[in-house]
């Protein structure tokens, strides 16, 4: 059974200990049986802790919150998290403004030389292999991020990989170019964009990914340095509307210029400007899937930005 709109008030009363015992008993049976109601109860609890930490509760309510919700070690941990989140949110509010995208707390991380060496080798290999006329390098914002590197390479026309596992209603295949490009390249174009995943601890900020005007397909090449033990991957790409654009499982890395790399194709016309999320999981043989850092990319079309 889904929670109904009055459940949050009921839950608030329960958490504050103001429900009659019989009503609390009934609610607890529901909480055990209904996962969504239970989740809502945890959410209301967190709201109460955050409100208490902000001094937004009446004294009697604050007292009840402390006695009932912050009496155990786990409860005190949650209270501490609520307090820290309040502080972080205020800091972000003060520095970013409410309507601006919030990108607080970037951790300055020294760029690991090995990554750039490997990426450079990979790029060089690709340039040689493809005989490309140009490439561009987007530097991470402010130069503070080492988690992800983006390069854009138009590839010559050639056999195109069909996009896989696209959501229903998606175009079955990339559309041919409608207009000639300025560069004397024969359409269709495949833009090659290189990204690198790190493990969860290394995730960094949003990066910009430029889709060249006229590209029909975007090939994402996701480098997997340091993850040689992982042999099977799942990659999910979500568009700015949080719709799943691609969900591909069982991907196996290829070796490009000596670097294990995941390769997935996306139709360029589905990459409208905006923020995309690329999530990946990798699994070692016989092991559990491991979450890798989600990549946050901002797609810019043509000559924008």
């Amino acid at each position: 059974m889904k929670p109904n709109p009055i459940d949050d008030e009921l839950l608030r009363g329960y958490l504050l200990g103001t429900l009659a015992e019989e009503e609390a008993d009934r609610l607890e049976r529901r909480l055990l049986a209904e996962d969504e109601l239970f989740e809502l109860s945890e959410a209301v609890e967190a709201d109460l802790l955050a409100a208490g930490a902000r001094g937004q509760l009446a004294p009697a309510e604050r007292e009840r919150v402390l006695r009932r919700l912050a009496s155990s070690p786990q409860g005190r941990e949650r209270l501490a998290l609520a307090r820290a989140l309040n502080a972080a949110a205020d800091a972000a509010d003060a520095t970013e403004g409410r309507s601006a995208p919030v990108l607080p707390f970037l951790r300055p991380v020294a760029r690991p030389a090995v990554r750039w060496t490997a990426m450079a080798a990979m790029a060089a290999g690709l340039l040689l292999a493809a005989g490309l006329s140009w490439y561009a390098v987007e530097r991470p914002h402010g130069g503070e991020s080492a988690a992800l590197a983006v390069r854009e390479l138009p590839a010559p026309a050639g056999p195109r990989m069909a996009p896989r596992n696209l959501t229903p209603g998606a175009p079955a295949a990339p559309q041919p170019l409608k207009a000639p490009l300025k560069a004397p390249l024969k359409a269709p174009l495949k833009a090659i964009i290189q990204l690198s995943l790190t493990t969860l601890r290394g995730a960094e900020a949003t990066q910009r990914l430029r889709v060249p005007a006229g590209a029909a397909t975007v090939e994402l090449q996701i480098a997997l340095e340091g993850m040689e033990d992982l042999k099977s991957f799942r990659v999910v790409v979500r568009n700015p509307a949080r719709e799943t654009l691609l969900d591909e499982r069982g991907l196996e890395p290829r070796t490009l210029a000596g670097v294990p790399t995941l390769v997935v194709d996306l139709p360029a016309d589905r990459l409208t400007a905006g923020r995309y999320e690329i999530q990946a999981q990798g699994a070692a043989p016989g092991g559990e899937p491991e979450d890798l850092s989600p990549l946050d990319v901002e797609v810019v079309r043509g000559s924008e930005g």
């Binding site: 049986a33 609890e45 912050a70 409410r98 989600p294």
Partner: protein, 197 residues
Amino acid sequence: MSRTERSQGLTPEGFDALLAQLGPDRERAGELYEVIRRKLARLFEWRGCVSPEDLADETINRVARRLAEGVELRSNEPYGYFCGVAHLVYKEVLRRAAREHRAIESGDWPSSSSFAEEGEPADHRLECLRRCLGQLAADQRDLVLRYHQGKGDPGESNIATRQTLAREMGIPMNALRIRVHRVRRRLESCVQDCLSH
């Protein structure tokens, strides 16, 4: 008390009987067992108990013993039995506390000034939170931070901000709460992990 010590009351026969009652697929039953245990611990926590996990284990042990003795759970509502036993355990806690002159209302709870006493969050925790926030997707980070932004006046509620957020996202308030909570749960786990290192 360690998890192993707490679990000593759970005999193999009792555990088998419990899993058998929770479902024919032992693996699925094991998952359900973990869910019930976690939920029971939270219920005890919400009742203000200081050792919720111990009490959840005690509840499960008693249920398992009864099942090993031949009691059967009602298949349409297996949770009712757990709830009934949990209430008995809780009442025993209250009676014990009363006997020891440590009634719940005057127990060793944090004082009412605890919200203020701890003041600013410890630097290390905040640093961990910053790192963990940095690992979230930008929209999730934005969501959780906007949700927790307060007004200048500490007495004011930030409900209006949250209503605006829910409207912007086109979802009801409870859906927003749950969505934020899921992000917060990831943060909680990440921060714990960070603090333990």
